[in-house]
Amino acid sequence: MSVSLDIKLKRANKVYHEGPIQLISSNIEVAKAGKVPGGKTEIPFEFPLLTKGNKVLYETYHGVFVNIQYSLRCDLKRSLLAKDLSRTCEFIVHSQPQKSKVVPTPVNFTITPDTLQNTREKSSLPKFLIRGHLDATNCVISQPLTGEVVVENSEVPIKSIELQLVRVETCGCAEGYARDATEIQNIQIAEGDVCHGLSIPIYMVFPRLFTCPTLETTNFKVEFEINIVIVLHDDHLITENFPLKLCRV
């Protein structure tokens, strides 16, 4: 007889919030030893999310150096001759929303050959004037990043305009700290020689598993930045960087 075991979370989106008391690991027995009858048996369970000691329960986050993951494991112990069954299931923790109001802090930008840094031959660059704004750099994680960009003029046709969401993880260690930036999402908002003077919307939904509220702890930091990348037809790459602060409301 084949036996299978599955865990079903009550919430469809598998999102849970930390409880007032903190704990990192908890074991409960959901059913006493005994015979499970044939067919499907559902055993309800629940336990509070409590952190261990004085540690903080961070949001679920999958990164390179930093990984915050919560999982449920269910073990079914069986008699000597039968194998034990085990099943793991990830669930997601979102921190409690901030009480304070988020100030959007919009930002305007103008990009011309003159505003660029990190270029060796400014003079050889084709002429262009690109303007725009971000509606907010203090972003609510569940709301899209919005804004506009206008190509006022460009000597060389535009090939593509992209929004690059970059995550910067910083880990403290004995020798100082390690900093690593990873692209976690790249979205094209313009393709080809776009109409000059016409505003193009900036719009990006923050990916659910790869973003979390900007996090600063004693040991590590998780921060986010947005790059507006303009690729010209001659493959010139123009990047404008904006640090973001993500929060949950």
Partner: protein
């Protein structure tokens, strides 16, 4: 045998018999009952539960008060096929609403939101048109890179889904890692097939729960839309690929909808509150996944495809998404790609939320502001590389812009349309835009402002969008709506001034074809003739007409719709020369047939108009000449039917000679179509009879010569026919006609020809495609023939009863089927003729023709010839009867034949003659010997004989009756 009377047949007084037999007139109440009247149901209450068949008959006929022609009422749209066709044409079948939509309030709301009615031409109607119009012979390519976007497009989003799905995704990725598929050198058909394959694999992937793979397919497909290589194919590509997107949108929507079907299905007008969490989460997942698609175009198209799913998430989702997606299109640099993306968004928008008009307008205005890109460097370079001219390039926009404008113009107030027109003017009368406005706006709107539009067209920039297309669009509107009467001539002149200058024959005819409708609708043959002349002038050089048959046919079709008076039609000088342009046989015949059909339908009066006759002869000759050895029977039949239809409308009135010479001409012209020749023989026979009627039976020398000419005509026409029975019947008929016209030798010739044709009658003939025995037909014919022979006087140079003997000899020599009684039946059938011939006064005669009764005047020699002949026949019959009776099968035949002969003797023989009377009794007994007789028939016969015996001159029958015994039932 008393020597004074040598007649064996009983003497008849036909007049007295006729008086005696006249049935009592039973008054018939007309209008009350008639067996052929359709079933009338006066009580229309149909009970439920009655059988289907019993109620269905009421639907079609209950309303008709006067009994209509039963055949035509059968075709009165009630046949299920035409009913289907009627509903499917033009409007999409109404989508059945979920049966569970409960309260009225919801229904009402649905009604309000259902802003798109059946008068909105749906996308499905445009599809085919676009696919047919935007074609290419260049090679196409499809570039699909499945799985290569791993970690970018799908990586982040996919982690949110369950473990199970994630592993499956990985499996898929492994399977297709970097499986970049590039298909090159595809023909257009290959391309369409490939896309259809993708559509299938999308459905398969979905059905096998591989949702991620399905999404990948859709993404890859929408990516193809950013590729503008082979740009002239782009509109068709758009059609093919958006089909896939539609499929995908439907699949996702249905899936989420079905997730909410527990415990009962969602109503059609559900709200967010009705949707459960799992369904919402799944829906949200789709949107997250799509939001993370890297490239702009797929992200846009795929989100648009599942726009409707926003209904599961929030009340305002759709009205928030539409403006966002509309703005997003501004990021598309290629104006053509952007225009089509807008068209798709409008299409989905109108379908999902028809009441949201703002985004439609926004799309249109954005489109206008992007117009300047068309003149830009990027587009121009592309055109140079692809060697596409600007005018052709601009027409690629038409389907997209037309669609957007159609959505906007649908039930839009006049004000909006006027505003659009004004905007168009401010854009320096952008021709492309103007064209779309004329195509999309209501024809009535355009027609009312036709003069304005002409002005705008004139003001348009000459380069770029070709003016003939503009006039084509205007013409299309004017074909369905009428401009003010006072402006019509000016409009036609202005339009034609431009059209006639169009160089390319293809462009020219495309436009001219449309304007023919307007010309026919409002003007006379003079203007139409001018237009035809112009078309001929443009299409004759270099045989340009060869590529324009479809349009030329449509020109003819339009003219035939408006001109039903064929004398007017054919008096257009250029009409026949126009027909001469159809030089491909199949097309030419097609055109001729369409003209003939209209002619037969509308030319109800007989005509002798030489203009019509000449033209129609020309047209019919064309149809006739198309017949060759390979022509199908059906085709021949339909051609023949049309030509016959024409011949029947021709009448020269009293000018019979002219009519005959017309028939001579027609025979020469249509010699390959048998039904036509048959018709001609009939026509000429009718002509002879008509002459007789006019002369009241007494021909003058001149008319006598004329009817002989008619006979001669038939006589030489009939042998060329193939069907032997047709020949036989026509010989007989023509013989009768000749006789009626006192052309004795001609009549003799016809009947002799028929007799000498008899041996050639085959045993089986084909009737409606089936092989059947000819015996029955032959017997019928011979009996008919015998009846005619009564009045045919013997030829002075041949012997007595020359034709009767001739016929009987042929019958004797004919190789009948084995085991057949046919020969004997003919003999039995000939006896009444002989009896009738021996009367002093014949049953019928032909005025002014002396039959044998007069020729011989009851000469005993003649009568004894008849007797001899009768005896021979009876002898033959009796021999045959003897030969039968071997087994039961032949005994049955014997019984039937014996009874037939008995009946003949009873009716025609003089039973006072003992020998004959004895023979009759013997035959009766023979037929009853085996008990195989029809008893009821015997009883009735016996009663009849008894009845006869009561008459004073028939008293001798009483004795015979005694000897006729009925068989006893055992």
């Amino acid at each position: 045998m008393p020597s004074g009377d040598i007649r064996r047949s009983r003497g008849r007084n036909y007049e007295a018999e006729r008086q005696g037999c006249r049935p009592e007139g039973a008054p018939i109440e007309f209008g009350d009952y008639h067996p052929l009247k359709p079933i009338m149901v006066t009580d229309s209450k149909t009970r439920r539960g009655t059988r289907k068949g019993s109620t269905s008959s009421s639907s079609s006929s209950s309303s008709s008060s006067a009994p209509p022609d039963p055949l035509s009422s059968m075709l009165d749209g009630t046949d299920p096929l035409s009913m289907f066709a009627a509903t499917s044409a033009g409007q999409p079948p109404a989508v059945p609403h979920s049966s569970s939509t409960g309260d009225l309030g919801r229904r009402r709301r649905e009604k309000e939101e259902e802003a798109v009615g059946p008068d909105f031409e749906p996308w499905a109607m445009k599809r085919g048109e676009i696919l047919a119009r935007f074609t290419t012979t260049e090679k196409l390519s499809i570039n699909l890179c499945m799985g290569s976007e791993k970690g970018k497009a799908l990586g982040p989003g996919s982690s949110a889904v369950s473990e199970k799905v994630r592993t499956r995704l990985e499996e898929l990725d492994d399977l297709e890692e970097g499986s970049q598929k590039e298909l090159l050198n595809l023909s257009q058909q290959d391309y369409a097939n490939r896309i259809e394959e993708l559509n299938q694999s999308l459905k398969e992937a979905w059905a096998s729960d591989q949702k991620v793979k399905a999404l990948k397919i859709v993404i890859q497909c929408s990516k193809l839309l950013s590729d503008t290589a082979v740009i002239q194919f782009y509109p068709s590509k758009f059609v093919l690929i958006t089909d896939i997107l539609d499929t995908f949108g439907r699949l996702v929507y249905d899936r989420i909808w079905s997730m909410c079907s527990d415990p009962r299905p969602l109503p059609e007008s559900f709200t967010v509150e009705d949707v459960n969490d799992t369904a919402k989460e799944t829906c949200l997942n789709w949107f997250f996944k799509i939001a993370s698609i890297r490239e702009l175009l797929p992200r846009l198209y795929v989100e648009a495809a599942i726009l409707k799913c926003n209904r599961f998430l929030s009340r305002t989702g759709i009205q928030e998404t539409l403006p966002r997606l509309t703005a997003m299109i501004r990021g598309i640099g290629d104006p053509l790609v952007a225009a089509y993306a807008r068209a798709y968004l409008c299409r989905v928008g109108v379908e999902v939320a028809p009441h949201l008009k703002d985004s439609l307008n926004r799309n249109f205005f954005d489109l206008l502001s992007a117009f300047r890109q068309i003149g830009g460097e990027s587009v121009q370079n592309q055109l140079v590389v692809q060697r596409v001219e600007v005018p052709e390039y601009l027409t690629l926009y038409s389907p997209a812009i037309n669609w957007i404008l159609q959505c906007i113009a649908y039930r839009a107030p006049e004000v909006l349309l006027t505003e659009m027109m004004d905007r168009c003017k401010t854009m320096a009368n952008n021709a492309l835009l103007l064209n779309s406005i004329m195509r999309a706006f209501r024809p009535e709107f355009v027609a009312a402002r036709a003069t304005d539009f002409i002005g705008m067209i004139k003001d348009c920039d000459e380069s770029g969008f070709p003016k003939h297309l503009l006039f084509g669009s205007l013409g299309r509107s004017l074909a369905c709506a009428d401009p003010p009467e006072s402006e019509r001539l000016t409009i036609l002149n202005e339009a034609w001034k431009v059209i006639t200058k169009v160089r390319s024959p293809q462009d020219y005819i495309g436009c001219a074809e449309v304007w023919v409708e307007f010309t026919c609708r409002h003007f006379t043959k003079r203007e139409v003739n001018t237009v035809l002349a112009d078309i001929i002038k443009h299409l004759t050089p270099d045989r340009a007409f060869e590529d324009a048959y479809a349009q030329l046919q449509s020109v003819i079709g339009r003219i035939l719709t408006y001109f039903h008076d064929f004398s007017v039609l054919f008096s257009m000088e250029r009409f026949l020369p126009f027909l001469d342009m159809f030089q491909k046989d199949s097309v030419r015949v097609e055109v001729c047939k369409s003209i003939m059909e209209v002619f037969i339908k509308h030319q109800l009066e007989l005509t002798r108009d030489p203009v019509i006759l000449n033209a129609m002869l020309h047209i019919c000759k064309t149809m006739h000449d198309s017949v060759n050895a390979l022509t199908l029977e059906d085709e021949k039949r339909s051609l023949a039917l049309l030509i016959v239809g024409f011949l029947r409308t021709v009448s020269f009135g009293r000018d019979f000679e002219q009519q005959l010479s017309f028939c001579v001409e027609a025979r020469a012209a249509f010699c390959n179509l048998e039904p036509v020749l048959v018709q001609l023989v009939h026509t000429v026979n009718t002509l002879a009879m008509e002459t007789r009627r006019v002369m009241q039976g007494s021909h003058s020398r001149k008319t006598a010569a004329f009817v002989r000419a008619c006979a001669a005509y038939s006589f030489i026409t009939i042998p060329s026919l193939g069907s032997i029975f047709t020949r036989l019947h026509l010989y007989l008929l023509s013989g009768q006609v000749a006789l009626a016209n006192q052309c004795l030798s001609q009549s003799d010739a016809f009947l002799k020809a028929a007799v000498s044709l008899l041996p050639e009658v085959p045993h089986s003939i084909s009737v409606e495609g089936k092989l059947r025995s000819s015996e029955g037909f032959l017997l019928d014919f011979i009996n008919n023939f015998l009846a005619t022979l009564l009045v045919v006087p013997d030829h002075p140079e041949h012997g007595v009863l020359y034709l009767v003997r001739g016929l009987l000899n042929m019958v004797q020599d004919y190789t009948w089927e084995e085991n057949s009684d046919a020969k004997v039946r003919v003999y039995i059938g000939a006896l009444p003729l002989l009896a009738a011939m021996s009367q002093e006064a014949f049953l019928y005669s032909i005025p002014k023709v002396d039959s044998n009764e007069t020729l011989y005047g009851g000469d005993p020699k003649f009568l004894s010839e008849i007797n001899k002949l009768s005896e021979t026949l009876i002898g033959q019959i009796l021999d045959h009867l003897k030969a039968l009776a071997r087994d039961e099968q032949s005994a049955r035949r014997q019984s039937a034949l014996a009874f037939s002969l008995f009946a003949v003797l009873l009716a025609h023989g003089d039973l006072r003659n003992n020998k004959l009377s004895q023979l009759a009794v013997n035959l009766w007994n023979l037929s009853h010997k085996q008990g195989l007789c029809d008893t009821r028939l015997s009883v009735r016969t016996l009663e009849h004989v008894k009845h006869q015996a009561q008459r004073p001159d028939m008293a001798h029958l009483a004795e015979a009756v005694q000897r006729l015994t009925l068989q006893t039932r055992t």
